[in-house]
Amino acid sequence: MSKRILALATGLAASLALAATPVAAEKVKVGFITTLSGGAGIIGKPMKNAFELGMEHVGGRLGGLETEVIYGDDKRKPDVAKQLANKMIKKDRVDIIAGIIWSNLLVAIHGPVTRSNTFLISSNAGPSAVAGKKCSDNFFNVAFQNDMMPEGMGKYMTDKKIDNVYVMAPNYQAGKDMIKGFKRMFKGKIVGEVYTKLGQKDYQAEISALRAAKPSAVYVFLPGGMGINFVKQYAQAGLSSKIPLYSVYTVDALTLPALKDAAVGTFGVQHWSPDLGNTVSRRFVSTYREKYGKTPAFYAAQAYDTVMFLDAAIRKAGGVGDRAKLRAAMRTVAFPTTRGTFKFNNNHFPIQNIYLREAVNDGGNYVTKTRGVILSAHGDSYAKSCPMKW
């Protein structure tokens, strides 16, 4: 008899203890998915570095709570990203999944993650597919909507009255977005429009075709290794001095060390540049350089902003358990951002400034210099079709 009671009591106590744990010591679990292997490793590695740097700056605790970060390498493959996200949700039971460089990977995991009541924070990818009708209250983008930079470039080239432009992008969602966004604001004539294989390495055939079309300027979107290969081969073909090259997400602090003189004089558009004057950005750039010996690119700045955003939002909401409270905090929280100003649109995408940047050789140091604001407090063009109101 007493034995049974004892067993019952133990059982009850155990169940109480189990129920009590999450309340007693709330812990934040974040999964950070990025690409660490292959050509895209030059994007993913600095993002991981910057995320770690951000975690250091908040004392390893998001919102003052004990935090565990689980890193995953998606190998730039949608199926791998999906498996990782699934594992993080079901096995690791993360509260938030962040990271994600590639738009096609984001589209692949967007549904499963947001439906599982886990927050998905994009630190880079911003495809139109999830910005309009399919926007989700569990998804936030702290980077940009894909079309923003090409819109800026289209505006700039129109303002400069540049005509007869040849455009090129990889044949995938973001590539299409980048051309569509460019055309939305570019009023001149487009003499050629080419989509290449994602991850293509040799662009000689495309370069021959491009030159034959005799454009007065070239606009490309070729991120990471693709851009290094293209710009290098563009210079090898002797075109950099003949046809000016304008690009988005192609020439930046990541690719410049490999490109060097091949990229000098080319123009780009970005929402952030290492030479921005605000305090957060200056501190980020100097501590990043100190720790990793390199100038961070905007990818890294976004990963850093992701930490600052999560830290501020979790602190404001007082934890991650109450998802609705956390969501409300995320929407309106003011956090120290490397971009100086940042606000969320109704579709949870940023409203921010878009800058013109030029690649220069600064005494053997290849960097981008800000050459002015093209669009200020620019919101994306899909927000109006997003049904979310708050």
Partner: protein, 307 residues
């Protein structure tokens, strides 16, 4: 389309085809002579590229680095043959596929450990950076012309060796009946090692020339390996001549198809559909070509083992 542009694209295709030939040559020799399916051939492209990039940086000279990387790749090839492949010749093809697939994983991991997972980028020395006007108003990069020249010289040298030397006679004899060659007192073991290492050097050479054009990274040889298999299937297994012609054909079809198909499609369907379908269809072209040739000539264009 402008005929001059078409000619230039054919030149681009030729350059790509020659690159494929360098890879396919070793593959077809090993397949034809040792009756060995070597999936790890692409890894030798990667090893050659990594060795060259490292040795060029170490010696500070482009040619000096290559001069060291070529014997080094030969040594790696010989080592792989002696340690791993030699035990597989008598096994069936499935065992060989499994074992050499294991080698791919092994090599990719070794490269990741030694050089790291992030791609390496290397440049060209100034004397290879220029361009020549092969056609009026169409500057062509010198280095790509060098690739074509190197590839053609390798093809010519291979032809001379295989058709006009004693070694070549043994290779041809080995391709048609290696047991008989062994029975006649030829040291078939060292012949196999030599042939394999030679194939490794050709593959490595392709990797070395790819390095300055694109990037050097783990697994860089695998996409090329698939194309090299297409080449030897079209060309006829074991045939150098077949591999050469098929490589050029595949290079031309792939390159010209890639730039022409979207343009052609735009004439039939609307632009957006053509832009999506064009690149997708272009990447299928060589497989369609291979399937077509297999229907007409299942043994390939120039089969080495006839009768």
């Amino acid at each position: 389309m402008d005929p001059l542009l078409l000619l230039e694209q054919a030149f681009n295709g030729l350059q790509f085809g020659i690159m494929l030939f360098l890879i396919a040559a070793g593959l077809t020799l090993v397949f034809g002579i040792m009756d060995m399916v070597n999936l790890a051939h692409g890894s030798l492209v990667m090893i050659g590229a990594y060795l060259a990039t490292t040795l060029i940086a170490w010696t500070g000279s482009f040619l000096g680095g290559l001069a060291l990387a070529i014997p080094a790749t030969f040594a790696v090839g010989a080592l792989v043959e002696v340690v791993a492949l030699r035990t597989l010749y008598r096994r069936n093809h499935l065992d060989q596929v499994l074992a050499t697939f294991g080698l791919i994983l092994f090599f990719n991991e070794i490269v990741r450990i030694v050089w790291g997972p992030v791609s390496l980028y290397s440049g060209l020395p100034d004397y290879l950076m220029g361009h020549v006007e092969i056609f009026p108003d169409a500057p062509y990069p010198v280095f790509r012309l060098v690739i074509i020249a190197v590839g053609l010289s390798v093809a010519a040298a291979l032809y001379l060796i295989v058709a006009h030397t004693r070694l070549g006679m043994l290779i041809r004899a080995g391709a048609s009946n290696n047991e008989m060659v062994g029975a006649l007192g030829v040291n078939i073991k060292s012949l196999f090692t030599f042939v394999f290492a030679l194939g490794a050097v050709f593959a490595g050479l392709a990797g070395m020339m790819l390095g300055p054009l694109t990037s050097v990274e783990p697994g860089m040889g695998e996409p090329l390996l698939i194309l090299a298999f297409v080449v030897i299937i079209i060309g006829g297994i074991g045939s150098i001549r077949g591999a050469f012609i098929a490589a050029i054909v595949v290079g031309l079809v792939d390159t010209v198809g890639r730039v022409m198909l979207p343009v052609l499609l735009r004439a039939f369907v609307d632009d957006a559909a053509a832009d999506t379908a064009g690149p997708a269809l272009a990447s299928m072209l060589i497989y369609i070509l291979m399937a077509g040739i297999l229907v007409v000539r299942p043994q390939g264009l120039f089969p080495a083992r006839t009768g």
